[in-house]
């Protein structure tokens, strides 16, 4: 995924964000900006379609503001919320974003999460250039990289549905930052999905992780909610669940996956959303035909480049105390006593050449509603 280079060099305090997860939002500028836009769709459930205009206060002499006041920006169907601490945007699902289930694919959802994260960054004055960093980070050659991505979809939108995504970011302990999302169906107002992602700081040259220093943290805390706000506030929610490593022999696999040109970002690394597609490649077809993906969690370990060849491995996830029921020769773990329609799997993506782990994941699938 390529990012658009957009230079706001005028203001020294203007920090630019570098985002590893294409466009998603990392640390924020120390520059204090009055909240722009006040966009929020009304929470009423009545109207099938609501058009909401984003209001951009033209702050006259501010050169950065006027630069950003392009037509697309002003008319973008999204903007900061009233308190300036989160960003909302509406999207319509296009026909080519819909898959075999006649609903948006999980990759489409992930792309939109990425898009809205990047738009949030851009809206508060950060560029979405892949190299954008705060001055401090730039000096120290630091970048943000995605560590974990967790998406839950309760109801997939169909072609020409309009969804609204709200996103915000905040501090996460000493080593990272997080970005959360909530997805809603505009027509009904119901929450159709939630997502959260965790980011850590890495040295661009050594590719080693680094603690977030206080001065970098200060720079972005300004735009984060003061009180912790979590898309997954419930205790022991699945976004925190540790993912075990899938060990050989694995039940299902798809070997020899290769990045396409379109999968590569400007740095010639594979786009994060591509990994989701690869994880699904080794899913058994009988599950894909009868179930839909409810939850996916991916831990990113290593980046993948253009010439890498990847193996995708899948196996059932066994919860403690569960039994394996053999069905037609294939064993799937049924981990919920009351919900025989739900299946859980562990995944591993690794390099074909030396078996190094690229990422690991887990998915939950629920039976399709006919």
């Amino acid at each position: 995924m390529l990012k658009f280079s957009y230079c706001n060099a005028t203001d020294l305090n203007q920090a630019l964000v570098q985002c590893r997860f294409a466009g998603s939002f990392g640390p924020l500028s120390s520059r204090r900006r009055s909240p722009r836009a006040v966009v929020s769709c009304s929470r009423s459930n009545l109207t099938p379609i609501q058009a909401v205009l984003s209001c951009q206060q033209q702050v006259g002499s501010d050169p950065v503001e006027s630069e950003l006041g392009s037509l697309a920006d002003r008319l973008r169907l999204g903007g900061l919320t009233e308190d300036g601490l989160s960003y909302k945007e509406k999207f319509i699902i296009r026909c080519y974003e819909v898959g075999i289930n006649k609903t948006a694919t999980i990759e489409t959802i992930a792309n939109l999460l990425q898009e809205v994260g990047g738009n949030h960054a851009q809206n508060v004055g950060f560029s979405r250039d892949g190299f954008a960093t705060s001055p401090t980070m730039r000096k120290l050659h630091l970048i943000w990289v995605t560590a974990r991505m967790h998406i839950e979809v309760y109801k997939y939108p169909a072609w020409s549905d309009v969804i609204e995504i709200e996103t915000w970011c905040q501090n996460e302990g000493r080593i990272g930052t997080r970005r959360d999302w909530i997805l809603k169906d505009v027509a009904t107002g119901e929450v159709i999905g939630r997502a959260t992602s965790k980011w850590v700081m890495m040295n661009e040259d050594t590719r080693r992780l680094q603690k977030v220093s206080d001065d970098v943290k200060e720079e972005y805390l300004v735009f984060c909610p003061r009180e912790p706000r979590l898309a997954f506030p419930e205790e022991n929610n699945k976004s925190l669940k540790k993912i075990s490593k899938l060990e050989d022999p694995v039940q299902y696999s798809r070997l020899g996956l290769m990045p396409r040109r379109a999968d590569l970002d400007m740095n010639q690394h594979v786009n994060n959303v591509t990994y989701i597609g690869w994880v699904l490649e080794s899913m058994p077809e009988e599950i894909i035909d009868t179930h839909e993906l409810q939850t996916i969690t991916l831990d990113y370990r290593r980046e993948c480049q253009r010439d890498d060849v990847v193996d995708s491995l899948t196996g059932p996830e066994l919860a403690e105390g569960s039994e394996i029921h053999g069905t037609n020769g294939s064993a799937t773990a049924i981990t919920r006593e009351d919900d025989l329609d739900c299946h859980q799997f562990l995944h591993l993506l690794r390099l074909s050449s030396d078996g190094q782990e690229i990422n690991r994941g887990r998915t939950e699938w629920r039976k399709k509603r006919t």
Binding site: L2, S5, L53, Q56, L77, G99, G277
Partner: protein, 418 residues
């Protein structure tokens, strides 16, 4: 032959008087050569003709809603030139419309105030979310797209796949907004009765300039007859703000019996259904009739094997979406060309469709350098086939050096200055 869900066919459009966009000097009156007509841009404050609905025009991702005018209502090319208050005084009978106009201008003055807006009449063809609408005497469908960040290619411009996705989306929305999307193939009732579907056989795309992230493009599409038994669907993509033509595309469709898989003439009853919706126009892209050669292992210089469809490549019928073929074709195009040049023209012939279990290979041969009198232009031939041999797509692409326009200027720089 490929049948896709995004085929465009002709169906009776329930035209209402409101859909006639007679006053706008857009695409001429059907008999004009569309290629020569400059598209009037739907600029941000322009063409705010209003229907009887006191609501402000919604905006989406930079698109402007051009509300189709009420018949007889004097249209204005530039909204800003219309003084609302005297207008109200002069035409009391149009008070509701004028109230709407006033609301709109006040909103425009405040630069897009936030409003909640509900469409009171679904048949108004208002386009808050980029669904698009019929313009031009009911024959042309128009939709705007903003370029999203994940649609950008390596050089920060929209990829050719993104452009083709937009073309596909407008084709299918054209069918939908005209009220017929029966079996997903855009077949008319007469076609459905006879098990006929449209399949695309040929596609030509010419890109003059690629949009970048944040641009808003306007896509117009319409259909015409192609020979006696075919149909042509054309697209014109322009920059929504400046009106500059970015891309022109043309596709040829034939009718096929979906059970026998044989080509079919257009039956008379179907002809009656579709011909009223054909525009009488020349192709928007000059047809490139040069034969597309079939490459093989000896003539191809670059081969990429082992291409397999992913789940996200499949459409609702579990066939690989046509647009994915373009990505695969480019897989075997040498990286050197892709990095230094941009695709300026592409001709594709569709032979067969493929599905989930197919394994494909992509072959490329560089067939011309510096052709056509254009320095630096490169031409390639392509073949996408199943590894067991069946052809899926044949293609030809032309590439011009990136920043070709600035190269032109450099030629004129004086050789030496003392």
């Amino acid at each position: 032959m490929v049948a896709t869900a995004a085929t465009s066919s002709f169906f009776p459009i329930t035209s209402s008087p409101d859909s006639i966009d007679s006053k706008n000097k857009k695409l001429g009156n059907g008999s004009t050569n569309l290629g020569g007509i400059k598209l009037k841009p739907s600029a941000s404050s322009g063409s705010l003709q209003v229907k009887a609905n006191a609501q402000a025009p919604p905006k989406i991702n930079g698109t402007t809603v051009v509300m189709t005018p009420v018949e007889g209502f004097p249209s204005e090319d530039a909204a800003s030139s219309l003084p609302p208050r005297t207008f109200i005084n002069q035409l009391p009978d149009w008070s509701m419309l004028l109230a709407a106009m006033t609301t709109i201008f006040l909103a425009a003055e405040k630069q897009w105030m936030m409003l909640d807006w509900k469409p009171k009449r679904p048949d108004m063809l208002i386009d808050p979310f980029g669904i698009g609408r019929i313009v031009q005497d009911g024959l042309v469908f128009r939709q705007n797209f903003s370029i999203r960040s994940y649609e950008i290619g390596a050089d920060r411009t929209a990829s050719i796949e993104t452009l083709m996705n937009h073309l596909q989306e407008t084709a299918i929305n054209h069918c939908k907004s005209a009220g017929l999307l029966g079996d997903g193939f855009g077949a008319t009732p007469g076609m459905c009765r006879k098990n006929l579907i449209w399949v695309v056989t040929r596609m030509q795309v010419v890109v003059d300039r690629y949009p970048t992230w944040g641009d808003v493009v306007q896509v117009d599409t319409w259909v015409s007859a192609s020979g006696k038994n075919g149909m042509r669907r054309d697209w014109l993509v322009s920059n929504s703000k400046t009106g500059e033509i970015l891309t022109r595309a043309s596709s040829v469709w034939v009718m096929m019996n979906k059970l026998t898989r044989r080509l079919s003439k257009i039956p008379e009853e179907v002809r009656g259904e579709i011909e009223p919706h054909f525009m009488n126009s020349d192709p928007v892209v000059a047809e490139d009739n040069r034969k597309l050669v079939k490459l093989d292992d000896s003539t191809a210089q670059y081969v990429r094997k082992g291409l397999t469809p992913r789940w996200s490549d499949l459409d609702v019928n579990q066939h690989v979406n046509n647009v994915k073929y373009v990505g695969w074709i480019l897989e075997s195009t040498p990286l050197g060309i892709v990095e230094s040049h941009e695709l300026c023209s592409m001709t594709l012939e569709y032979r067969r469709e493929c599905g989930r279990d197919s394994v494909l290979q992509s072959l490329t041969a560089v067939s011309g350098v510096g052709n056509l009198g254009n320095m630096g232009e490169i031409e390639c031939q392509h073949l996408l086939q199943l590894e067991e041999g069946s052809e899926i797509v044949r293609g030809r692409t032309q590439w011009r050096p990136k920043n070709a326009k600035s190269f032109g200027k450099m030629d004129q720089v004086p050789a030496q200055s003392a």
